[in-house]
């Protein structure tokens, strides 16, 4: 069954959008696009559908193509659905010197998915990303706005279990 969700910002999100737009000259509203797309992605399921991008375009008085070209350029914008918990493991050189590849393999085995895939229950998506600025605290991954550093297999187990329980609680409430 498909869910049809009307794309419209909550009042809180709208307030945040107004605050952001006020940072730029009045005729330069397009500058708000990157921060507003982050808000939109968080509001509407962790990804940017065409409907969501069209809505943002209308809000900022720009053409949809101007939103599509930005959403497809920057790696933090997901133009396809993702699971409830998006795990982004750094895979760049310095992290690899400290076991990043082993952590990726461990998560793949643990969740029974490959990099880029989502678990069948739609709970976890695993991605590898480039240098996150945590090279001295490797290996590490980012989930949401949080960096989880100095990872071990035990820590990975704990972090993922805790996050999953939080999500399940939130869903059931």
């Amino acid at each position: 069954m498909t869910e049809v969700q009307k794309i419209e910002f909550s009042p809180e999100a709208m307030l945040e959008v107004s605050r952001i737009v006020s940072h730029y000259p009045q005729d330069k509203m397009k500058s708000a696009l990157l921060p507003v797309l982050h808000i939109a992605q968080n509001e509407f399921g962790g990804w940017l559908s065409a409907e969501t991008m069209d809505y943002v375009a209308r809000l900022l008085h720009i053409h949809p193509i101007e939103v599509y070209e930005v959403a497809t350029f920057y790696s933090m914008y997901n133009t396809k659905p993702v699971g409830k918990i998006l795990i982004e493991v750094c895979q760049t050189g310095p992290c690899c010197l400290n076991g990043a590849e082993k952590i990726v393999s461990y998560i793949e085995k643990k969740l029974n998915i490959k990099v880029g895939e989502t678990t069948k229950d739609n709970m976890f998506t695993l991605k590898t990303v480039e240098c996150l600025g945590a090279c001295g605290y490797a290996p590490m991954f980012q989930i949401g706005e949080t960096f989880y550093e100095h990872l071990t297999e035990e820590k990975v187990d704990m972090i993922l279990e805790n996050l999953k329980q939080e999500k399940l609680k939130a869903i059931n409430n």
Binding site: S31, L34, L60, C131, C135
Partner: protein, 448 residues
């Protein structure tokens, strides 16, 4: 014990709050600059200090400021480049995360010097949690009257905003950063025109790294001449080094320019030596874009003198035998590290981050990644090594922005100094599948 101009109060209680920051001498440079100095006098101190851009290019900051067009009639903008994405670099993160007010103080003084009414901090999207910290600190600054209208009754007004990126290394390049701030894809612009003439929305703009702007605070507090007393030659003041890799104590270290590379790697005050009692094999001293150096070229210059942590000393010998200080992203490799694998890893990075405008970069980075992948996974041919050399040579200098060069240099350096590892991968494709990817004894570097 080296002097700490930026991180002196790092571990003081509440240093991330206005209260804690003020208790440790914060915002003195704002009082001094706005009440006792003209904007040009501030710029003069920065020139005297010899401060060089701390993002990686090392261009004289005072000179860059003097290029700003002050007569266009258009608003002028100062953009702080907090897009920190150079692999191996995490110093700006520490500054902003732990002592946000230091950056804000530096932004106020620098904006005053440049005559800006509104300034922005462009921060990489992955540092969203730091954006929150900065916005909280900015709100504290407004509440205390350090931002907004008529700061401290000086007549100078400034608004400061934080603007997030969304995952693009290329947006650390100043013109791509400007494009991104304008709400577009991060495609670098051809220079000239330089941002100092036509930048953000076509207005005169200066883009400076986080650490450069933070350094303006001690420069104004103590004077440019005092700052210039630290360091050697054209490498004055202190530098934040991000140390990572196979060392005992990875982390951010503030060093006085001029300590030796050997001391930095082995002293307990800094990296504490190589982990697990292994031998040092190689080092990338300034972020992934700078040439990797084998141990014998890293620790000594061509005249036999110890190599120092300065711009000049790390560049001595050019790319034949030297490297660069760059961003100070200091990555250390032990004897078990695979240089071929590391080169492939970096090639994959640059291919992913290429904006795609220039054919040599867009196609060349992808090509190098594929050839390196073949070699690393046992499908390489001997001709591939010269092919790689040829590809990187044809990217270098043929692109709108330096990302092409940044992609070419690691490949060139790896082949120049570690060709035997590439040949080993081609000659013995089966051995590269060892679980730890450990080399056979005959492949170890000759000890000097």
């Amino acid at each position: 014990m080296g002097r700490k101009l930026l991180l002196e109060h790092l571990n003081k209680a509440n240093i991330n709050t206005m209260e804690g920051y003020l208790q440790n001498g914060g915002y003195r440079s704002v009082e001094k600059a706005l009440k006792k100095m003209t904007p040009d006098e501030v710029t003069e101190e920065v020139k005297k200090s010899g401060l060089r851009g701390r993002g990686g290019a090392g261009f004289a900051t005072g000179m860059k400021w003097s290029f700003l067009d002050r007569n266009s009639g258009k608003p002028r903008y100062l953009l702080c480049n907090a897009d920190e994405s150079e692999p191996g670099t995490f110093k700006d993160r520490l500054l902003m995360e732990k002592i946000p007010h230091l950056l804000i103080e530096g932004m106020i003084v620098s904006s005053y010097a440049l005559g800006c009414r509104t300034s922005y901090i462009y921060i990489r999207g992955e540092y969203m949690f730091i954006l929150r910290i900065l916005e909280k600190a900015i709100a504290e600054a407004y509440a205390k009257g350090y931002l907004g209208e008529n700061i401290l009754g000086s007549g100078y007004s400034l608004d400061l905003h934080v603007h997030p990126g969304a995952g693009a290394y290329i947006c650390g390049e100043e013109t791509a950063l400007i494009e991104s701030l304008e709400g577009k894809r991060g495609n670098p612009r051809i220079k000239p025109p330089f941002p100092a003439i036509a930048g953000l929305w076509g207005c005169p703009t200066i883009v400076n790294n986080v650490e450069s702007i933070a350094a303006v605070v001690p420069i104004i507090n103590d004077g440019g001449d005092e700052y210039a007393k630290i360091g050697i030659g054209k490498s004055t003041g202190t530098k934040l080094i991000s140390a990572s890799g196979n060392i005992n104590k990875p982390g951010v270290y503030e060093i006085e320019m001029g300590i030796s590379v050997e001391e930095f790697i082995y002293s307990e005050e800094y990296c504490g030596g190589i982990k697990n009692n292994l031998e040092l094999k190689a080092c990338v001293p300034g972020g992934s874009s700078v040439p990797i150096l084998p141990k014998h070229l890293l620790l000594k210059m061509s005249d036999g003198n110890p190599r120092l942590m300065t711009y000049e000393s790390l560049s001595e010998g050019g790319f034949a035998t030297g490297s660069m200080l760059g961003s100070g992203g200091f990555i250390v490799y032990d004897e078990k590290a695979c240089i071929v694998r590391n080169t492939w890893n970096f090639a994959r990075f640059y291919h992913h981050e290429s904006c795609g405008q220039c054919s040599p970069c867009r196609e060349g980075t992808g090509w190098m990644e594929r050839v390196l992948h073949n070699i690393e996974y046992g499908h390489g041919k001997m001709e591939d090594i010269d092919l790689l050399w040829d590809i990187q040579r044809k990217i270098e200098g043929n692109t709108i922005c330096p990302l092409g060069d940044a992609a070419a240099w690691p490949v060139a350096a790896a082949i120049r100094h570690f060709r035997h590892e590439f040949e080993y991968h081609v000659k013995y494709p089966n051995r590269v599948f060892d679980e730890d990817h450990v080399y056979q004894p005959e492949m170890k570097m000759q000890k000097v």
